[in-house]
């Protein structure tokens, strides 16, 4: 059984475009969260799937842009057109600073990013005069450009869809570029890359900042969706959850993080109706994934041969022949 890729993609696009017509408010809201957190997970995938760096501080970049927008709009009465670039700028600046983490590798990188993530969470919690501490910032207004205000969920959905689609296209371009290939080379052999003339630290740092920027974009989408931001959005727990989305969905593809996001958020909605302890369920998912499906749901599908692929080379990572390049 081999599914054709293009008809499938066409159906997915059509389903996404008409979603507000057939989905009720609850499901539409869930779909938006799946897209937003899928984008956040994609930033984890850029580092994990390409360089092999497991970053556990993406929530910090997500939250810093959300907080910046919330503070500028609510406390300083700034318009969306000012708040959004500022939010993105804040995420970029924070990732430029946190980028020092790439000087470490392996388990030290994980530990350093946990610590860096925690620092930001701590600030959001304790700097009460600025962030309202535990209570967070409420009543963020709907995004508005000039006289146009986007109040309904279904119209905001199209903004989310458009931004996520743009990011996915950009991500795909990046990973197929010479720079993207470089990242995979670093994952395979740092020593060889150095020997071939690459300044490894510079490439890792750039990728880290790009991933931070992507997380920041997810944060921007989130704040106008949720209209409320609190330290919970900067938590270590969120960073772990999105990393888990990548592992559950499968690394090495663009679709994986979004599938992981759908599974995790779907499960959370379902499970929390019966059990309070989502954390326990998440821990179990983590263990099951690591033990039985280390390459995620997409890996399982691929192994079953649905897409007729057996090689480890991911779709989208194929490099054309010298003849094709002429």
């Amino acid at each position: 059984m081999v599914l054709r890729k293009w008809p499938l993609l066409f159906c997915a696009v059509a389903a996404a475009l008409f979603a507000p017509l057939y989905l009720g408010p609850f499901w539409l809201s869930l779909l938006m969260q799946i897209l937003i957190f899928g984008l956040l997970a994609l930033s984890v995938e850029l580092l994990l799937g390409h360089i092999g760096l497991f970053s556990v501080c993406q929530a910090a970049f997500f939250a810093v842009s959300a907080y910046t927008v919330a503070i500028l709009q609510v406390k300083y009465g700034q318009p969306t057109i000012v708040a959004v670039p500022a939010g993105l700028g804040a995420a970029i600046i924070l990732s430029l600073i946190y980028g020092i983490a790439v000087r470490t590798s392996g388990v030290y990188f994980i530990l350093v990013t946990i610590a860096l993530g925690h620092v930001f969470w701590g600030i959001s919690w304790t700097w009460v005069s600025f962030t309202n501490g535990e209570g967070g910032i409420t009543n963020v207004p709907a995004p508005a450009v000039g006289s146009l205000t986007i109040t309904s969920h279904s119209s905001y959905y199209y903004i989310v869809l458009a931004v996520v689609a743009l990011c996915v296209v950009g991500y795909r371009t990046l990973t197929r570029s010479p720079f993207g290939l470089t990242l995979r080379g670093i994952r395979e052999s740092e020593s060889r890359m150095r020997g071939l003339g690459y300044n490894i630290a510079a490439h890792k740092y750039t990728a880290f900042v790009l991933a931070g920027t992507l997380s920041g974009i997810a944060g921007l989408l989130y704040i106008y969706f949720n209209r409320f931001v609190s330290p919970a959005n900067a938590e270590f727990f969120l960073s772990i959850e999105v990393a888990l989305m990548v592992l559950v969905g499968g690394t090495g593809t663009i679709l994986g993080p979004f599938i992981g996001s759908a599974i995790m958020l779907g499960l959370r909605n379902y499970v929390s109706a019966y059990i309070d302890q989502w954390m326990i369920v998440m821990g179990l998912i983590f263990i099951i994934t690591m033990l039985w499906t280390p390459d995620g749901v997409l890996g399982v599908i691929r192994r079953l041969g649905v897409w007729g692929r057996t090689s480890h080379n991911q779709p989208g990572h194929r490099t054309p022949t010298p003849e094709e390049g002429k």
Binding site: G197, T319, K326
Partner: protein
Amino acid sequence: MDQNAVEVAGLTKAFGGVRAVEKVSMKVPVGQRRALIGPNGAGKTTLFNCITGTFFPTSGKIFLFGKDVTRLAEHRRTAMGIGRTYQITNVFHDLTVLENLILAVQGNSRQKWVMHRPVSAFSGSLKRAGKELDRVGLTDRTHDSVQHLSYGERRQLELALALASRPRVLFLDEPCSGLSPGERQRIAEIIREFPQDITVILIEHDMSIALGLADQVAVLHRGSIILEGTPDEVRANPEVREVYLGKV
């Protein structure tokens, strides 16, 4: 041009208390084929690693084309024209053969920073990659993942990666290790056909290959050079004959 491609002066590298390389001095003129021989643990690979910049020496100086590079980062030395292969095959296992080559080709160019165009848009790189694969005889493996290559083919790829960055000095660390006699001859043939202006420094245990390819030979023993000379002089030296060549 009677410049030295590589000059090493009083080079020492210690790992803790072990002096893997001790006060080595050596000059390799541009275009020379230099063999470096000596028993296992003599410090040959360590000497390579110091010159190519994998790590810094404990003391002593290193010059490339007359420029002091003792404290220069490895990737900058590559940019100056160093290429190398590794004793233990060091290639990109999860990528295709072509992707391996492209990484080597773009290593010294700005192309490695391009993010907005696909690799396939760089026809010049693809052509060069194809040419290097042709040179080592891996053309029919272009699209295969390295995982599916035989050990011998990986050694050929190892060589192709070093050549693809267009080095002026090439350091080959036991390119024939682990290969069958037939495969060794093939690698030796590839090395012999390198352009004459490339300086080659070769570590090789197979004496007939090492001495067959070299203009000059240096014998390393316990971290120090104990003899330098032409292949004939090295062959004739009784001590070397006894210890390294075996009694012929």
